[in-house]
Symmetry: none
Amino acid sequence: MKVLIIDDEVAINGFINKGLEENGFEVTQTFDGEMGLRLARNSSFDVIILDLIMPGINGLEVCRRLREEHQIQTPILMLTALNTTDDVVEGLNAGADDYLGKPFKFQELLARVRALGRRSGQIESPANLLQVGDLTMDLDQKIVTRAGQELQLTLKEFLLLECLIRNKNRVLSRLDLLEKVWGIHFDTGTNVVDVYMNYLRNKIDKPFDQKLIQTVVGMGYVIRD
Amino acid sequence: MKVLIIDDEVAINGFINKGLEENGFEVTQTFDGEMGLRLARNSSFDVIILDLIMPGINGLEVCRRLREEHQIQTPILMLTALNTTDDVVEGLNAGADDYLGKPFKFQELLARVRALGRRSGQIESPANLLQVGDLTMDLDQKIVTRAGQELQLTLKEFLLLECLIRNKNRVLSRLDLLEKVWGIHFDTGTNVVDVYMNYLRNKIDKPFDQKLIQTVVGMGYVIRD
DNA sequence: ATCCAATATTAAGTCTGTGTTAAGTTTTTT
DNA sequence: AAAAAACTTAACACAGACTTAATATTGGAT
């Protein structure tokens, strides 16, 4: 099991590193938030141990950015000297999964890391899937299937479908879709959304009986169960 | 999000129940381990809050059996007066995902339950609904139903109805409606409002006994409970 | 009861919104 | 560097949403 330690205090970082390695974990150490973010983004860890107080980007910020900007759901154990209720609450709300105050006994850290790791192991295996009816998107493999048949989508088609499914049963306006898929935040008079909706339909709806994508005139598009 | 509380202490059980319900959770309470096991097996909860010390089957045992015998992986928050390191370690090793010592602040419990729940189910955003009598508008799905029956409205009809309901029991003049629905800020002598009010009535009032839209002669229109 | 103004209804004409295609542009692959 | 694929823009056709306008009906005052 792979663990990332992000803590600027060299002594503590080393202490955790040593203890975890003795217990059979694969450990990566880093001493600042910036590097921590980069490592967490680019490798896949099972658990991240994150110090709250660090020079530069602090732990809360690292946590928030991993969750919100990078959509990384690796379990995070927040580690810090602060452990009043407010700090704990703030940490958990920023997206941490657990919180441990310093000083701590190593046995407790170990148990908590195992608890977190156990969870990720089970959650990761049922792949990262989105579904509507008999259509499935595998977000890791980037594969879309309908009725067991694999469909070949381009990037924009894929993103558009993902957006629709993540908001299934909610009608999305062209502007919503332009923002979320194309990153265009104002009306430029383009009709790309229409065109791509057409391409998408040709692939995921045309060959099948039940149509998933619906137009709601004047409002936008939905995908429904 | 569905939460199961297993705690024999009636006061604490009730306290948690009340607090969680106020925060929009669906809560099920039970006061002994036996029943807790049965409920956890048969319904699907997003989080289980489990007291360690209980008469009959204790929390550790419940936790262990859920994990080992029943293969149930619902996140468990262990709750107890004991909070020495050893107890925490034992609890987490039995398969709990988090551990909170009594007494605790409710805000911390809430944050921890949310952190656990975030994993299993997505937080369902409460639907965006407007209601008058037996008529419901779902602003996300853009669906209008009356007496359980789905009604098909066009854009202008939908906006007009939305405007009426948002101002229910308040009489809106034609000019008010022209401004809010059509964006026309001066009198152009048009009678669109009348015409659309007619279309709307044909769909939402004509087929039903109780009429929701009322004309106030010389003043405008209202929708009332 | 009668008249006038306000409101309801209907029907026809206009025009916007949408689907579709094709051609032009950029990016990626070979 | 050429070819293919992906993406964007633009133009056109058509259905149905919307608007206008004319006529019918209702409500309230005299």
